[in-house]
């Protein structure tokens, strides 16, 4: 069992506030991913949880116990660092057993736990090596092994894969997901990579500028971003954004006029909007189709071929970029004039403050 409750957590370095009041609940066995642009305070938040930084305000509770002032050594959390942070003078075995030795656990017990972790991570043949004799991927495994042997309340990961090459990163990502299943442990994982966040998390926490933008399951955030920031941050290629004006609103629908001219009628509850105000229309690449009868005239830009899919980048007449997903063998010439069909039920609408406008209550029959 491990649950974490964070209330109004704040952290400043000197006069600069980095974490600006964070409230978060983490439940047992969740794989929580903190994601956000670099510098938004993800590592700082993780280090506050670990106890490596002193809080400026707020509280942290672990399993109902206030640990805000407890030293990191007594929190029973394990952390995997971006730089691995292995003890360079110790063998792999010693690295993994260090915490258990400190805790005064019997030798035979320690050996059993280290061997078990080494088996899970396939490190058995490396146990007598020093860290400098290992590759990056192997070091990463040792760092994870060091955490596993302790059976901590929560695993903390700070961008553990960012020093690995792309292929290894994908492989380790799968292994981490498997590890979470196998250990049934609570994990908190920091990354700036939204793909890692989407693929690993059971709960994604999107951070921006020291604040939480949104918390939810990966698909929840993907399909129902609460604001422009989350909408633009999650998903590759990025969601396209078009400026528009509100023309007509009702509980069932909102009519808008795009900057480039066309009008769209969206099934959105527009009662919070004001006619004449600016809004933003967000459309993901998979919700656009090339269609001679489409509402949206565009000029094609470059195309990216991924094999299974092709992404055509386009510009609207008002020079706003859009991306369209088309089948892998589709050909899209540069500089061509086309029309796009918009799947209005899957579009996102954001008010002038960047907040999402909710779906219409009942789908109009």
């Amino acid at each position: 069992m491990a649950t974490l409750k964070i209330r109004n957590l704040r952290k400043g370095f000197d006069a600069i506030e980095i974490i600006k009041g964070v409230d978060l609940d983490i439940n047992d066995r969740e794989f929580v991913v903190f994601v956000g642009p670099s510098g938004c305070g993800k590592s700082t938040l993780l280090r506050l949880i670990a106890g490596l930084e002193d809080v400026t305000g707020g509280t942290i509770e672990l399993d109902g116990r206030d640990i805000t002032e407890v030293s990191p050594a007594k929190r029973d959390l394990a952390m995997v660092f971006q730089t691995y942070a292995l003890y360079p003078h110790m063998t792999v075995r010693k690295n993994m057993s260090f915490a258990l030795d400190l805790a005064g656990i019997a030798k035979s017990e320690v050996e059993k736990k280290v061997d078990e972790a080494a088996r899970i991570l396939e490190l058995g043949h490396l146990l007598e090596r020093k860290p400098r004799q290992l590759s990056g991927g192997q070091r990463q495994r040792v760092a994870i092994g060091r955490a596993i042997v302790r059976n901590p309340k929560i695993f903390l990961f700070d961008e553990p894969l960012s020093n690995l090459d792309a292929a290894l990163r994908v492989q380790m990502r799968l292994e981490l997901a498997r590890l979470h299943q196998e250990l049934q442990a609570t994990m908190i994982y920091v990354t700036h990579d939204q793909v890692e966040a989407m693929t690993l998390a059971t709960k994604v926490v999107v951070l921006n500028g020291g604040r939480i933008e949104q918390v939810g399951s990966p698909l929840d955030l993907y399909h129902h971003p609460a604001n422009l920031f989350v909408a633009g941050f999650l998903g590759t290629p990025k969601m396209g954004f078009l400026k528009a004006k509100v023309i007509h609103t009702s509980a069932q629908a909102t009519e808008i006029e795009l900057a480039s001219g066309p009008r769209l009628r969206l099934p959105r509850d527009g009662r919070s909007l004001v006619v004449g105000h600016e809004v933003t229309l967000g459309i993901r690449p998979e919700h656009l189709v090339i269609d001679p009868q489409g509402q949206l005239p565009v000029i094609t830009d470059v195309t990216e071929r991924l094999g299974s899919d092709t992404y055509c980048h386009m510009n609207t007449p008002s020079d706003e970029p859009l991306t369209v997903r088309v089948p892998g063998d589709f050909f899209c010439a540069y500089g061509e004039r086309l029309k796009l069909g918009v799947d209005v039920s899957h579009c996102h609408l954001f008010d002038e403050h960047g907040q999402a406008v909710s779906h219409a209550l009942q789908q109009a029959a």
Partner: protein, 277 residues
């Protein structure tokens, strides 16, 4: 025209020659001292200086008769090691806190500590002499141990600090999360990782203590006098007895030179084995 490879080789030959020249110039006085210590007083004075002569041990025998070398040598050893041990016991925690728990004043503190080295020692001769005297510590090893520790501490802290600074903070934080107390963190993780750097600091401190002459001459007379005082007792204002002076200097330098030479091998090994890579 030289090929790239040839010019590289030429460059390394020139650099090598330069290094050897500098090394020889630096080594020459020591070489000459050792040579002179085996000459008779008359040969030692000869102009032009002689490279070929009949070596003799009479200077060394004379010194053995006149003074108790091992008494002075023991004092040197006790003072150098005493001061170095105390110095390290103070420098390591100080450098630890400055390297890993930096505050806004850390940089200034370091600079201020080093700036005390700019004060000429003679400037505080009177106060220190009087304090030593009123504490009843004149001509005791303890007084020199304390003073050498204080003199060398800024350099030791600075050196240990730079070695600690090279160690990624993450490693210590990992230890902290693994349940290590601050002492365990230092003793079981930090010190083993930085043992090469710590050994160099110890060696430097030993050498500085061993060679220190100003305070040893002013604060000791006989019972606590180290080898530097022994050398001084052989120098005469008229510049007589060059050979004996050379012999006693050779005797005084030999232990630390040999010690330095032996530990140098260990040092290089320690440095490359402990590397944080």
């Amino acid at each position: 025209m030289l090929t790239l490879k040839q010019s590289r080789r030429l460059q390394s030959v020139v650099l090598g020659a330069l290094a050897w020249t500098v090394a020889l110039i630096l080594f020459f006085p020591i070489f000459w001292m050792i040579l002179t210590s085996f000459k008779t007083e008359i040969d030692a004075f000869a102009t032009p200086p002689q490279l070929i002569f009949h070596p003799t041990l009479e200077n060394y025998l004379h010194i053995q008769e006149r003074s108790d070398y091992f008494h002075f040598a023991w004092n040197s050893v006790a003072i150098a090691f005493g001061s170095t041990i105390i110095g390290m016991l103070l420098a390591v925690p100080a450098a630890y806190s400055m390297a890993f728990h930096e505050t806004r004043l850390t940089k200034q503190t370091l600079l201020w500590m080093l700036s005390t080295k700019m004060l000429p020692a003679v400037g505080v001769l009177m106060p220190i002499y009087l304090m030593t005297k009123s504490l009843g510590l004149l001509d005791t090893k303890l007084s020199l141990i304390i003073i050498y520790t204080l003199i060398n501490l800024p350099i030791m802290v600075w050196m240990v600090y730079t070695y600690f600074k090279d160690i990624p903070k993450d490693i210590l934080e990992a230890a902290r999360l693994d349940g290590a107390t601050t002492v365990q963190e230092i003793v079981r993780v930090l010190l083993p990782i930085s043992k090469g750097g710590l050994a160099s600091t110890v060696l430097l401190s030993l050498i500085l203590c061993w060679n220190e002459a100003f305070w040893s001459l002013n604060l000791t007379s006989s019972s606590a006098a180290p080898l530097t005082a022994l050398i001084a007792s052989y120098s005469s204002p008229e510049g007589l007895f060059w050979a004996k002076l050379s012999a006693v200097s050779t005797l005084a330098c030999a232990p630390i030179l040999i010690f330095g030479w032996i530990s140098q091998k260990q040092l290089v090994r320690g440095l490359s084995f402990g590397a944080v890579k």
